[in-house]
Amino acid sequence: MLEKVIFSLKIIAWTIVVIFLAFLVEWFYRKVLAHMQHRVGPKLAGKLGILQPIADFIKLMRKRQISPAGTDEFFVDFTAIFGLWLMIIPTMFLPIFGLEGFISFEGDAVLIIMLLAISSLVYIVTPYLFPSPYPTIGAGRRAELYLSYEIPMFLAFASAIFAAGSLRISEIIFAPTIIRNDIPTGILLVPALIVAILSSMSRLKKVPFDAPVAETEIAGGWEAELSGRRLAFFNLLTDVKLFVMGAIITTFFLGGPLGPMILISGLEWILAPVWYGFWFFLKTVVVIFIITAVSAATARFRIDQVLKIFWDRLLYLSVFQVILLILWWSL
């Protein structure tokens, strides 16, 4: 019984930690994006504006909720909570402070990919709950985008799974370190890494793949009718998703928490998790920085251009990646 209580407290603590990590990630994204665009970015709330995302969240939670007559109120509220919940669960499987996640079992890698696929449904279903043209058009674009990036992304993650020869995340983190024919698998996985980063940007609706939310064309698309606590929760969902995508790419392609460690005899129990956490967060921040830099340096593609990129380029690149792995291993 006591064991279950401790387990429950750990889940509560971790959920709160993930929410605060998401706020931190949003601050980092906004700050980097602002500097790349010669702006200052958040600066008023807290040192260097680090508390600005929390202030924004509280402000939105205290604002009056507006929704057009005819909106399916219950399901919009449900999807706001359900979407965030779907993104918090995968973080429990990620090996952040050790070689295993908070929870680990054979097949957890596929469970994460499945949860990511289901989470996309939230963005497609929610806009149809509003009787408004902007969310409907945004949802249509979101669905087309999903159709384009899903298979390349799936094949990219599958490449890392094939390379590791395991469906367990605690074994997949070693995939880049496996040396075959004198070449580390991590180098062979570079095409998959590129596909994963670009697909993640599409999943996150970051520029240049932000056609579903294009403010200047469709007034924010599927987000147009969100306000108050709903908007607060969907904004938080986007931040959690940014962290989760960065962390998953780190886990599958960059060795997760693996890195050089300085351990002092007798203090390994505290130093090891600190080092693991340091390397994991450092790599995740680098991935998020790449996503931010690409977003800042590019302009929005039209929806047909996005589809062409994914169907004509990235799908072939991801198939090439799988063939490359098979050929290299059979040599």
Binding site: I11, A69, A117, P131, G140
Partner: protein, 103 residues
Amino acid sequence: MMDPLSVILLVIIPFILLTILYSLGKVARRETGREPFASGHAFPSTYIPYKPRWLYYIALFILWDIIVIFILFMASEMSLYVITSLLILIATMLAYPIRISKG
């Protein structure tokens, strides 16, 4: 492998926490019951007559996508079922751009 109670706790606790956090937000609405669009437009709210056929196709694709991943999850190794499911999934996805290119 985790015991069923741990799985239930893992699923339920974050959901309850998020529900509590969500319920802390303000819900007050206008007395009239009718709201303007958040986007600022004054036209009356209505469902637009926009039901693209491909939406059903995409809905089926998403369903099939999740089923394939689930099959892979259950199989935990490459089998004829997994390879066939993956091939059907890729063929389903490719059907859409082929249809577009043919007009």
